[in-house]
Symmetry: C2
Subunit: 192 residues, 2 copies
């Protein structure tokens, strides 16, 4: 057993925060998970709040990287939208703890940091809205669509996935991406 790194501590905190919440996690709980004492954690970090900041920023960064990649990899709006969807699902599956903590515990950040994270989340949401608006302006989406509301609906479907998807059922990652993309495409483009 070698010594733990700061990243180990942050990863452990992410798992705990995702499961029991920031306020439902004590430093002693976290220490137990890591095989050290709660007080020993303070050799690596300045405080509990600093751990939350680290986990949430990590979560946010994965989504931002995904959006940048989607915008770099396609030009057609509906193609970008599909990449945004698949990238978001990948982040949820591959970095579940950080993603979940980012989605549910950001409110407990201190004022300044919370403001930063909300701005980043709004910018990410705006990428979805802009993409949907571009699809509409290109005549690929229905003209009566409100891009901002549609972006919220798409992200609502996506963010809820970590609540119910376990990866071991009958729905594979590929099936999930396909099914969500199909539902969203009809919501955005479809006649009814």
């Amino acid at each position: 057993m070698s010594r733990l790194s700061r990243d180990d501590i942050v990863a452990g905190a992410g798992r705990r925060f995702a499961l029991y919440g920031y306020h439902g996690t004590s430093m002693r709980d976290l220490g137990d998970d890591l095989g050290i004492l709660g007080s020993s954690i303070y050799a690596h970090i300045g405080g509990k709040q600093e751990l939350l900041v680290a986990v949430v920023e990590r979560g946010a960064s994965f989504f931002e990287t995904s959006a940048a990649h989607a915008l770099d990899s396609a030009t057609q709006p509906l193609e970008i939208l599909r990449l945004l969807i698949s990238g978001h699902i990948d982040v949820l599956i591959e970095h579940r703890s950080e993603a979940r903590t980012y989605l549910t515990e950001s409110f407990f950040l201190a004022e300044d940091e919370r403001t930063k994270i909300i701005a980043a989340r709004d910018a990410y949401e705006q990428v979805f809205a802009d993409t949907i608006e571009a699809a509409r302006d290109a005549g690929e989406a229905r003209p009566d669509l409100d891009p901002r509301l549609a972006a919220i609906y798409v992200l609502s479907i996506l963010n809820a996935i970590e609540r119910w998807y376990d990866g071991h059922g009958r729905v594979s990652r590929e099936n999930l991406i396909e099914d969500v993309s199909s539902f969203v495409r009809r919501g955005v483009c479809g006649e009814a």
Copy 2:
């Protein structure tokens, strides 16, 4: 100032739990909100966990009442679905604290109560899935639709509303119901 009732205490707990979470709320915080001491709350209830049970059960009951009403008020599947959507949004807006606590804090219930609430939530979700399946079997929805997944998507859009809708912006309750219903109807029925 007359004495508080048990319902007053539960309502206050709902507001606190919705804002700061179960573990982020102390009995003294709650007492402050109610204008009494934290210890005085124990004159009305047995413990903090009992308060969570009361709030969550109240939240769940509003949704169940809404679903029962939707099933009673229509026979055509797509009409029922629209009533399920508008009823759900009404509950979110009119009983925001209880709804939010039900949606986000149920995990912190003790084992037995949590199992009960999860079963109730699954049954509610099943009403959505059955309605969508009925629409599909009646030829009103696209034949390749997975009713269970579609129900999850619809509820994901609905449940997220309490996270962003403030009721004071440019989107009225009626507009919101109309816009969500429209998006969902296309997702369920639409060509793309």
